[in-house]
Subunit: 301 residues, 2 copies
Amino acid sequence: MKLTILGCYSATPRALNNTTSQVLEINNHMFLIDCGEGTQVQLRKHRIKFNRIKHIFISHLHGDHFFGLVGLISTFRLLTRETDLHIYGPKGIKEVITLQMKLADSWTNYKLIFHELTSNKSELIFEDDKVEVHTIPLNHRVYTNGFLFKEKEGERKLDIVAVEDANIDTAYFRKLKQGFDVINRDGVLIDNKKVTKPAKKPKSYAFCSDTMFKEDIVPIIENVDVLYHESTFLEKHANLALKTKHATAKEAAKIAKLANVDTLVLGHYSTRYDGLNAFKEEAQTIFDKVELSEDGKVFNF
Amino acid sequence: MKLTILGCYSATPRALNNTTSQVLEINNHMFLIDCGEGTQVQLRKHRIKFNRIKHIFISHLHGDHFFGLVGLISTFRLLTRETDLHIYGPKGIKEVITLQMKLADSWTNYKLIFHELTSNKSELIFEDDKVEVHTIPLNHRVYTNGFLFKEKEGERKLDIVAVEDANIDTAYFRKLKQGFDVINRDGVLIDNKKVTKPAKKPKSYAFCSDTMFKEDIVPIIENVDVLYHESTFLEKHANLALKTKHATAKEAAKIAKLANVDTLVLGHYSTRYDGLNAFKEEAQTIFDKVELSEDGKVFNF
């Protein structure tokens, strides 16, 4: 699982601060999460192949999370993309994109498929045989969802030597991978665990931005490997966090602890602070394994 | 008259190529012309004070000329701007901006005043005592205007020594500056030209992008000091220019020559070419005084 931070600052893009966008690579998928202004340039800088992006998830319709979307869609068209593109985001996202297409008197030559979200409960919004994506209802000034990306439990791996020793016909290999006991060529029932090894532990990633401290999300994100939780402010500006429905680094850490995640990644920083270390220090008073997102940083989990 | 090129490439922003936007400083005004994605970052890079921008002119609603507008408006709001902002652009621009504001559940705390354009004839769209702005109807795939910025004829300058020698009362200085002959303290009529000098020649700038070769614009832009004319292609791609309703460098030069302008500035280049010299060389087969716009370049005219 690889996470590339294209932008991790709040409010407005600046020469050295990009607004929210990140690419999650999980099980051969390349999911784009949020798309602030300038995301297409960040994708180019990080040499991410446009055609590999087939699903874009937009948390909410504040500009620092989606003003780059229409430009990206338009650039895909200019580059004669043919691959379908799925957009998941709040109701209204289709209207605003199609209006801009109409005004430019242009349309995409690829299929643009909108999945508009309106529910206040967590729902499954994408699924294939390897991965699931669920929404995480958040609490911000406008309708906002985080997203939970989960690998499915994989198949067990054959222990080839043990399988041969047990004299099992290849016709049963599929059943073995699925965890069943099978009968060998001599008519003996073979215990699955003796000839297979457990599947790799499925990875999971939860993206939670923007939101104020919201304990309700804990059951949804429990035990994830990586939680990205916004930390716009430090505790000394807790009043501002409350007023603008954002979280502090300490609150992000509380959620990480309650949900028993493995690693917390902080982000969506206000640019009012000098440097990012104070965010990490504040979070570590509550939760130990904290990473700081930074524009251009790549995490391999 | 100072022209700062924030972006001069066509189609899509890239790491080193910004799409159309420029700032024209003329007679204490700071006019922003077009606003491709990333314009707000370019403004920051070039240290242009946001509050000095009070008028934004949008040629047409293709993304490479206006996808940065909503972000700029939104950033002005976050920076608690109070100064009025006037937006001039094709009909539809108000709807698309206001829809995005509505979806973000936010509105500007400054006055945002839209001047939607629909005419196919040149019209006066801004005027104060120093400067006029007129539209230049262009021919592109969607409704498009160029913009002509003209200083008004200034006041004549007093030749202070001559004025004193002529024994003219200060009460008449205003009249003298306006070009009238006046009567001196001895009752003698004084010829204005003997005691004043001509006003500085008014400057003018015409921005023409995007457009195919359109001879009709010549009477509107005749004798301007500086003509910015798009040159998306070279002549070897004249077929593409025709098909996409763009111009070649040679066609830009033909317009410059027909309109008897002083300086031609080329821009809106396709990124298919290696370097820009070929654009200048091609234009100079027709017209001598050619400048190449480049991102970040500042011209003082």
